[in-house]
Amino acid sequence: MATEQDSSYAQGFGQVSRTAGLVFRYLLLAATMFGIVTLAVLLVYVANDAIQPLTADAGWHLTFFLTLVLPTILVGGALYRRNREALKLGGMVVGALLVSLLFSGGVAIVFVDIIPPLTGFSYAVGLAVAVAGTVLLTKYETQIPFTARVAATGLLFFLSLFGVPGYFHSIPELVQQAPVVPTDWIILTLVLGGLTALVVGQYIARVREDTKAGVAAGASALVLTALGAIVGPFVGIDANALVVVTAVSFVPTAAYAGGSVITREELKPGLVFAATVIVGALVGAVAVDALGFAGPQAWTDWQFLTSSHSGSAENAGLYPAIGGSILLMVTVAALSFPLGVGAAVYLEEYAPDNRFTRFIDVNISNLAGVPSVVYGLLGLGVFVTYLGQATGTVLIGGATLALLILPIVIISSREAIRSVPNDMRQASYGMGATRWQTVRNVVLPEAFPGILTGTILALGRAIGETAPLIMIGAPNVVFNLPTELSSKVSAMPLQVYAWSSLFASEDFYTKAVPAGVVVLLAVLLAMNSIAIVLRNKYESET
């Protein structure tokens, strides 16, 4: 009986048509590809306008094909067959170099042009003194009551950074008034190079499991940075610029490459790939220069990146807008990160599950979907009309954008915190830890990469926003970098918008706008790539 039924089922199976399933599958594929392909076509179109690769000499293309593309394909292909992990490392090193070069540009704008090195240095010294004092205080942690310690730490930071006007000079003031101060490149080497050296030293010490190696690596990082400044003028590069690039880009990339190879010997061939790409690009650049081949007449060129708006599209540049966007992002991060993470920790770890918290829950999700122009109106209403601030400043723009991404930061941070396994919390409680100790020592470290990823993606949204900035009255044309929180600010998307709408000549539309879009997208992709790398690293570790 049973066997008969089975065979009749089998016969029924044989007659089912697969066409419906096949059609469904390819419809899904088409749906997936539609948006991506449309966007890709648009991006290629814009990039072609901005970079104009076809205006280059054929020799230029041939040279780079021979020095860069061909060796990369050969080495990459060989590695792909033998050692894919190594190829991945090589790709990561090249990617890290590109992204960190981009970031070193941003750092240079902030620490050379916006904040004069001496001012930055004076605050760095002030902070260092305060931090040293705090470390000293923590040594006597057990002997001083908690409130006194907090008060002392607060006072220490306040005194060293701000002083008491009339009685007691703050450390930044003292440093700025010192009769003899180090030159800019030494300051940059000490502050930026010092930070990099610290990070690199710790990283190497961890992978080598050897403190001495870490110290040596940190010291050589500092020496390398200083070397950049000394060598720079001889090869015709500004010492300050080279110090920043070395400290932010070259040294960390080298440390990453070195550290990865130390931990996994078999990845060494990956460095060959990275070297092929980098050397190939350099050799190609030198060769076209020597042979006199003209490169493409790109609109996204050095002049575009470093000059301010002009009446003619050829001379127009994005510099004040780039600086404005960076300052806005710093302000947004400084405001939204503590608020957002704080709210997320409270809601996940402390809040009782009652009607009120559920009400807040729903509203945070709703706020994440509110159109940005509404946030712009909110910023205008609250900060300008109600609080009487000037329109269009860095502070107001940053605060408005921070409000805009706050719900996103809260939601993604909550996701990250929620993904910390409950077992870990229970284990911590089981060891006798308090809730505060559990949050600080278990939950936050574990959730941190996720929180950071979410915040970076949210910042990526904020950097592309135009509507809120228009609403709060940010000017359409700005000629200088903003230097204070109360300076008027322009931003990259706003500048692109102004070019595309307010300037009549066709040139702005076909040259300046695509160039601006390419720069904006490059910054956005760099930010997102960092978020993705962080997420992957986090996923592979757990």
């Binding site: 916006i114 904040i115 004069p116 001496l118 001012t119 605050y123 010294v125 009339g166 009685y167 007691f168 000079h169 450390i171 003292l174 700025q176 010192a178 009769p179 003899v180 101060v181 180090p182 030159t183 490149w185 030494i186 080497t189 200083a226 301010s308 708006h309 002009s310 009446g311 003619s312 601030q389 000037a390 329109t391 269009g392 400043t393 860095v394 502070l395 107001i396 009255g473 940010a474 000017p475 359409n476 044309v477 700005v478 000629f479 200088n480 230097t483 204070e484 929180l485 109360s486 300076s487 008027k488 102004a498 595309s500 709408s501 307010l502 300037f503 009549a504 000549s505 066709e506 539309y509």
Partner: protein, 350 residues
């Protein structure tokens, strides 16, 4: 210096000594002369009060913010002036916003947010009142002459030589509101009129009403595509054979291939809009003066006064006003008149 206690001095000595010890090895110390420069760039809290910044600085080292808002028609001229001014005074930040004449007066200038307001029509009485309520005194300066330009599509051949003022009045009036071209002139095709124009925040809109429709006239129809972006007007007219629009001459002069300008007949034959006909006064009634209004209170600040002077001195420049931007420059007499007006306002302010 005098109020430093021993404690501070020793601390300072310690800092210098320890700093110097570490740094002389690297050999690169420099004399500190940046104290005065680094002051304005210190990252202080955002009090957002741009009014004070830069006051009291010497004339050779001008610095501070100048905020400009107002007419989109004057915007390119203000940008061109600011760009050149900026090259000579790199420490001065000129921030320019395009808000429309009326929008600029109501939301920015008369509330004390900006130092200058550009306008493509004279200030209105109610705007004067709003400004004086907030202790802002506008100083009227003429900066150029514009030929407000009516544009139609390149393929439009039916209107012939041009339009009369009467026909323009019929097309744009709120009373008749013709929907078809044939409603205006029975010989014209039976096609819908598509109308593009500036919003009612714009001085161009106000001037068009004054010149064509009349202050007491029927009023401007509201069923048209209104925008503060002149580029959108051009794109709209370019896209449809039966479209019509109007805007400042500068935007047309940059896009002479995209659309065609309409010659206007005010009773003495058709006159094409151009710099020459606007200057000679033949292009009536649509040639109009453009203004900028500095606030007398802001002129007390050297860098603002200097920018206003720079603008007026260059208002006769054919290179900037006519060739780069596309308006008619002032004559020498007019310039002198404006400069005298400005200088007396600056004196009063100080």
């Amino acid at each position: 210096m005098t109020r430093k206690t021993d404690d501070i001095l020793s601390r300072r000595k310690f800092l210098i000594a320890s700093g110097a010890a570490g740094l002389t090895g690297l050999a690169g110390c420099t004399e500190n002369n940046s104290n005065s420069e680094s002051e304005p760039t210190e990252a202080s809290g955002g009090s957002g009060d741009s009014e004070d910044s830069g006051s009291g600085s010497e004339s050779e080292g001008l610095s501070g913010d100048i905020n400009v808002a107002g007419s989109s028609t004057v915007f390119p001229l203000a940008t061109a002036m600011a760009e050149r001014f900026q090259k000579e005074h790199s420490e001065v930040n000129v921030n320019i916003q395009s808000t429309g004449s009326g929008g600029g007066f109501a939301n920015y200038f008369c509330t004390g947010q900006t130092d200058f307001n550009n306008a493509s029509r004279p200030i209105k009485g109610e705007e004067q009142d709003q400004c004086s309520n907030n202790d802002v005194t506008p100083v009227e300066l003429k900066v150029a002459t514009d030929a407000l330009t009516v544009i139609v599509n390149n393929d439009n051949d039916f209107i012939g030589e041009g339009l009369t003022v009467e026909q323009l009045k019929t097309i744009f009036s709120a009373e008749e509101k013709p929907t078809m071209w044939s409603d205006v002139n029975s010989e014209w095709p039976e096609e819908e009129i598509e109308i593009f124009g500036p919003t009612d925040a714009s001085g161009t809109y106000d001037y068009f009403i004054e010149a064509i429709l009349g202050e007491e006239g029927p009023g401007h129809r509201q069923d048209y595509s209104a925008t503060e972006q002149d580029r959108t007007i051009i794109q709209g007219v370019k896209g449809s054979k039966f479209a019509i629009g109007y805007m400042g001459f500068a935007y047309y002069s940059e896009n002479t291939d995209a659309v065609q300008a309409v010659a206007v007949d005010n009773g003495d034959g058709y006159v094409e809009p151009s710099l020459d006909t606007a200057l000679s006064g033949d292009y009536t009634p649509l040639s109009r003066p453009l203004f900028t209004y500095p606030a007398k209170e802001s002129l007390a600040k050297d860098h603002v006064a200097e920018f206003a002077r720079y603008w007026m001195e260059n208002s006769t420049s054919k290179e900037i006003v006519a060739d780069e931007v596309g308006y008619v420059p002032l004559g020498e007499d007019e310039k002198q008149e404006m400069l005298d007006k400005l200088n007396s306002a600056i004196e009063e302010a100080n």
